[in-house]
């Protein structure tokens, strides 16, 4: 059943490609239907499988028998959590790109191809297959940004593609070597996780594979693709980038690097925790001084993904499950933030400059956008009641047990997070400086202002409202009743896949 999330996405791509030219409405509807179908399948799959400590096999076929490569799809609670996230983010992303008019068909074809690849990564339990889907997701990102993006789009797109490809090249070296060392007989994650790789091998293979994946998760100092990529991307693409694609990286770290090379993990965990904490604090501090609205959100993503990485290397159950929950939570919240910035604000005001936005008094002009952004920022700051709170709290508790100093620093990161979120909230929506803008100082901005004033902003459309409500409801529901996901997540850490980690007494 769950396998159909992948098939239906690529089916959607095929249908869109065969669609005759000029059918923008049909293209949108097909894309939306495909995404909804994907989400429904993901949801029913989750309800149906309800995996405990078992890993539920979804599909297993011989693919390349002579190399021991199978078409092996399976799911545990971690996969299911992220598949659900992908379903929700995909639907929301399409709702927020309803206004795309330029090459509509191609846009949604690339979009669905990306979604299909992401679904594939989350439910592949054959390393080769996982890698295939992982790389499959790189190319659509490039085109989505380069064709439909804004600010320095070709630069941002190429930077993103190359960073991703460098990461996957590192991963490829590691997994080919692991495959060969284990006897070139199998690519199944479950089998390879059982194989005792020699310690000196793990010592170099672990950082290679972990960092390779973590590049996509925004690990400092390899995060620089993220802000530029997010800023250059069209709204739906930045929602997916921050919401789902960065999770691909974190998921790879957990699923591949950590389960295959537990000894390497022990050797390197302090260094990785340090980088993660630097990412949290640095991302937050840089977000504090940005002038561009979208850059603020871009750097905040780096900061929040730092929590995921920190949670992963705490290696205790609470930290690990917090990390997975944070992947879900940040996926939803970042999507919401980018939706407000990219679609609701930028598409209407045509500026993301905070100083210019300050004079527009957007809270009056677009109350719905302001309300959405308030909810999103509150969730992002980690206020109780929203998913971010539960997730980051768990990570902090886990980190407190593992690395107390880092936990304190990460807590400091949360404080800075509140500062930049409140700053941007105030500047973008509740600015009250409309009379204070002195024309001689800010000619350009006031020009933008006078251009903006006579034309009232187009009202928030229905698809946007639906999309925003879906995302807000999700973060609220998970925040109020996190067990919905935590039950799934926690039980999956007792599966045989994590035996290597457990055996080492790591959690």
């Amino acid at each position: 059943m769950l396998a159909w999330t992948i098939y239906i996405s690529f089916l959607g791509v095929l249908v869109l490609m065969l669609l005759p030219k000029g059918n923008a409405r049909a293209a949108r509807s097909i894309a939306l239907l495909t995404a909804i179908a994907g989400f429904v399948i993901a949801l029913t799959g989750t309800l149906q499988l309800k995996p405990g400590s078992e890993i539920a096999t979804v599909a297993k076929l011989n693919w390349i028998p002579s190399l021991g490569i199978d078409f092996f799809l399976a799911a545990d609670g971690i996969s299911l959590t992220l598949v659900l996230l992908t379903g929700i983010a995909a639907v929301a992303g399409i709702l927020f790109s309803w206004n795309i008019e330029h090459r509509v068909k191609e846009f949604f074809a690339f979009y669905l191809a990306l979604i299909g690849g992401v679904y594939g990564v989350f439910i592949s339990f054959d390393l080769f297959l996982l890698f295939v889907f992982y790389e499959l997701a790189i190319i659509p990102k490039y085109f989505l940004i380069a064709i439909w993006g804004s600010t320095r789009k070709e630069y941002g797109a190429m930077k993103l593609a190359l960073y991703s490809f460098v990461g996957s090249a590192m991963v490829l070296i590691g997994i080919v070597a692991a495959y060969v060392v284990a006897g070139s007989k199998t690519m199944s994650l479950l089998e390879l996780a059982k194989y005792p790789f020699p310690e000196h091998f793990q010592y170099w293979a672990f950082p290679l594979v972990f960092v390779g994946f973590a590049i996509l998760a925004g690990l400092w100092p390899f995060h620089t693709w993220a802000p530029t990529g997010h800023v250059a991307a069209p709204t739906a693409a930045s929602m997916l980038l921050a919401g789902v694609v960065m999770k691909l990286g974190a998921y790879g770290c957990l699923r591949v690097a950590m389960t295959l090379f537990p000894l390497g993990l022990v050797a390197w965990r302090n260094e990785i925790a340090l980088l993660a904490v630097i990412g949290i604090v640095y991302g937050a501090m840089v977000a504090l001084v940005q002038k561009d609205f979208k850059f603020v959100i871009g750097y905040s993503s780096v900061s929040h993904m730092g929590f995921v990485l920190l949670g992963l290397v705490t290696l205790n159950e609470i930290g690990l499950s917090g990390a997975v929950l944070q992947m879900f939570s940040h996926g939803i919240i970042a999507s919401l933030l980018f939706a407000v910035v990219g679609r609701m604000v930028y598409d209407r005001t045509h500026t993301r400059d905070l100083a210019a936005l300050e004079g527009m008094n957007l809270a009056k002009a677009m109350p719905f956008a302001a309300m959405t952004f308030v909810v999103a920022s509150v969730a992002s700051m980690g206020l109780p009641g929203f998913s971010g709170f539960v997730a980051e709290l768990q990570v902090l508790i886990g980190a407190w047990q593992a690395f107390p100093t880092f936990a304190v620093l990460a807590g400091g990161g949360i404080l800075i997070g509140m500062a930049y979120t409140l700053r941007v909230l105030q500047k973008a929506f509740f600015g009250d400086v409309i009379t204070d803008v002195s024309p001689q100082q800010n000619e350009e901005e006031s020009a933008a202002l006078s251009r903006a004033q006579p034309h009232p902003l187009e009202p928030i459309s229905i698809p946007e409202r639906i999309g925003a409500v879906i995302l807000m409801a999700t973060t609220l529901v998970i925040g109020l009743y996190p067990r919905l996901l935590l039950d799934l997540i926690v039980s999956s850490f007792s599966s045989p896949l994590f035996e290597g980690l457990r055996k080492g007494g790591l959690f």
Binding site: F131, F143, A161, I173
Partner: protein, 497 residues
């Protein structure tokens, strides 16, 4: 010696020679006065029929023979038959993308030479005898020189052919010198006998000279650094279908024979290119060539503005990857080499086919001529996307599985110490670089808007069909590599390397 038996073994080659003569006779005798278009069509048809007939012959009649008392003059076994079938498929596609071109009115000669070159490659593939190898190498090369020079209106074509010819002649001399030393050392012309005689003698200086000379000759054929200088000019100047053929069919045959000569002929003097475990022999020499090819090919491709030159440098880089398989010299490595070379051949013909379409419309093959292709010719543009991404090694296309299998095979020769890891890691790093320039092409096609005055693009039906088939082939072979791999492994097993 039984002539009937020889004829039966060499039937596919014979069919092709007959087809070549038929093309000549028909075109010169009957079609002389007709319009170019019809002459092209008919000649292409005859050539295709010849190729397809030869494929069918081999498909249906599986033979296993080493002609003339095991001298290796003509070795027919499942493996060589498989490679020959692949060569013929590549030839058919080359013929099809040539149909609409108008660079020559010597139609009969063009197709006849194409077929003769294929015959040369087929003999080359099925030979384990240094005399026969040299003869068929020359048959192939001479035909290819002429094919390069075929565009008589274009001075670049003549220049390219002259360059190709001079370098080629020099390389042939090196090969001949190397092979004659080998004969002098052992008194044998059969590769397997040579290896037996060489066993235990160690690396004497004369043998080193022989090895280096042979590698120079073969390195020229596969366009590996530092013997690559002819490739960019030849690819750019030659008529596009000829370039496609040089880049695909000739590559496959040359790599197959290079692997055979090194693995069979120089068995026992491999040496080792493993990290911290160096031992002299032919492997380290090839390893250096491989590393240099990947480095230079990928870096220089970045700055090219002509797509054909870009493809030439990318071909040099790919030669580097394939040399990695040659120097791994075991069963899995041979399988990965053939898989890689064949899928690479299909992809390259496709890429050149797209270049030919654009060139016919726009006059040259500059990168900027591809701007906005996705809106002017969506099908062709999509095919080009598949070809470029496959060359870059993006799954699920054939180029990805080819690379994966090749790297796994190279590491698998020494699973304990992973001796070749340095070269594999380098190759993977370099393939990251390659994504950049392949994306530059795709950026022009998909992202950049076409110039306002861009001429309308006419895509001939035949090209469209051929390109779509090629793209489908690249996709299918990538998503289901077993289709080719299973036959390949069975063939290798039956040969017993």
């Amino acid at each position: 010696m039984n002539y009937f038996e020889l004829l039966k073994l060499a039937m596919p080659e014979t069919i092709l020679v007959i087809a070549a003569l038929a093309v000549l006779a028909v075109d010169l005798g009957v079609m002389r006065a007709e319009a170019l278009q019809y002459r092209m069509l008919l000649s292409a048809l005859i050539s295709c029929v010849g190729c397809v007939a030869a494929i069918f012959w081999m498909f249906n009649i599986e033979q296993h023979a080493n002609f003339l008392n095991g001298s290796g003059m003509l070795v027919v076994d499942p493996l060589t038959q498989l490679v020959k079938e692949a060569l013929l498929v590549l030839t058919v596609f080359t013929v099809v993308i040539s149909i609409e071109s108008n660079f020559t009115d010597h139609v009969g000669e063009y197709f006849a030479l194409l077929l003769m070159a294929t015959v040369g490659m087929m003999f080359l593939v099925s030979s384990e005898n240094i005399l026969m190898i040299f003869v068929s190498l020359e048959l192939t090369s001479l035909s290819l020189y002429i094919l390069t020079a075929f565009n008589k209106q274009n001075i670049k074509s003549a220049e390219a052919a002259l360059k190709y010819f001079l370098f080629g002649g020099m390389a042939a001399a090196f090969t001949l010198f190397g092979l004659s030393l080998l004969y002098g050392l052992t008194g044998e012309v059969n590769l397997i006998q040579i290896a037996l005689k060489l066993k235990g003698t160690g690396l004497d200086p004369l043998l080193i000279v022989a090895i280096v000379m042979t590698i120079i000759g073969l390195g020229f054929k596969v366009a590996a650094v530092p013997f690559h200088l002819w490739a960019p000019d030849a690819y750019e100047g030659a008529p596009t279908p000829s370039a496609a053929f040089i880049a695909s069919g000739s590559k496959v045959a040359s790599f197959f024979i290079a692997a055979k000569v090194m693995m069979l002929g120089f068995a026992g003097v491999e040496g080792s290119a493993a990290w911290r475990d160096y031992a002299s022999g032919w492997v380290p020499v090839v390893a250096i060539g491989a590393a240099l090819s990947m480095l230079l090919g990928n870096l220089v491709a970045i700055v090219q503005s002509s797509v054909k030159r870009l493809l030439a440098y990318s071909a040099i880089a790919h030669a580097g990857y394939m040399l990695l398989a040659v120097l791994s010299h075991d069963k899995a490595a041979v399988a990965s080499l053939i898989y890689y070379a064949v899928t690479y051949g299909l992809t390259t013909i496709g890429a050149f086919g797209v270049v030919a379409v654009v060139e016919n419309g726009a006059g040259d093959d500059k990168l900027i001529r591809f701007a906005g292709l996705s809106r002017r010719a969506p099908v062709v543009a999509f095919c080009m996307m598949i070809f470029m991404l496959s060359l870059a090694g993006i799954p699920p296309l054939a180029g990805f599985f080819g690379k994966f299998y090749l790297f796994a095979a190279a590491l698998g020769t020494d699973p304990k110490n992973l001796g070749l890891l340095w070269l594999v890691a380098f190759a993977i790093a370099m393939s990251v670089v390659s994504l950049f320039y392949y994306l530059q092409v795709l950026k022009q096609i998909y992202v950049v808007d076409s110039p306002v005055k861009a001429p309308a693009l006419h895509t001939p039906m035949a090209s469209k069909v051929a390109l779509s088939l090629l793209a489908a082939g690249v996709l299918v072979l990538g998503a289901a590599p077993n289709l080719l791999l299973e036959r390949l492994l069975a063939a290798i097993k039956s040969v017993g390397y």
